[in-house]
Amino acid sequence: MRDKLKKITVCAVFSALAAVTGILESFLPLRFIFPIPGVKLGIANIFIVFAYLFYGMPSAFAVCISRILIVFIFSGSAVSLFMSLGGGLFSFLSLCAMMKFYEKYFSFVGVSAVTAVFHGLGQIVCAYFIVGSAVIFYLPILLLACSATGIFTGTLMNISKNKLAVFIKERKF
């Protein structure tokens, strides 16, 4: 019972953190580094990966979906919901595949780079359905930007994983 409560609470906190960092990082002027619109660091992804690591796939999926819904309620339009659902689902599927190799073959840097690239791919696919083939032009440069931000968030995860694991597993709430 206590463990279950703790799991629900931690996942809720993760969802809230993912939503807030997602909104905050959209204020970072990354477009001066990457000359395309809408590039974000993807710090929100960190919490989804940690939910997967500590509590398994269903919890990670819950965090992923609730983050998208929270952002939609506070700042979204139907178009941005569609775009983030596309990116979220693509990256979640690739995350499920990559976590099978985590610690066996790849660290978080590899996992995160691949999921970030799939996030970009999902968004391009969604944008393709909305405006048509014009968005294909963004594909290579967006995916390169994604793998760069993926390496960044992966490094953050490698650094913070052990500290967070102690906090999650041992601290009494």
């Binding site: 790849f106 691949v114 690239v117 048509g132 014009a134 294909i136 032009f137 594909l139 290579p140």
Partner: protein, 126 residues
Amino acid sequence: MNKKLLRNDIILITAVSAVIALSAFAIYKPDKSEYITVTVNNQIYRSYRLDGNICEKIGNTGVVLEIRDGTAKIIYSDCPDKLCLNTPGITQLSPVGASIVCLPNKVAAVKANKSPKSKEADGIAG
């Protein structure tokens, strides 16, 4: 951190980047085309010459396209995120397929080789 994992990460990321770079070669084909084709809702709305001088509202969307000094830009949009306003303009040097997209308005301006025959439009009159 484990050395083997780090090595595998580097191999993986190099492979992914290589695939992306290959796709870039397939998509970016620079040439001296001079048309901008504007689509609304994935339907061709009109095409403009890049050497023209225009500033006009696209259909009944809230988007204003400007072509001046060989550069096409979206200079006004009523959408909430304004990403299209921050997209760099399309010039004569941009590769074919370079585009400015406003997702909320479903408007895309794309650089094209030639003007579609049925919708021939000259930038001077535009």
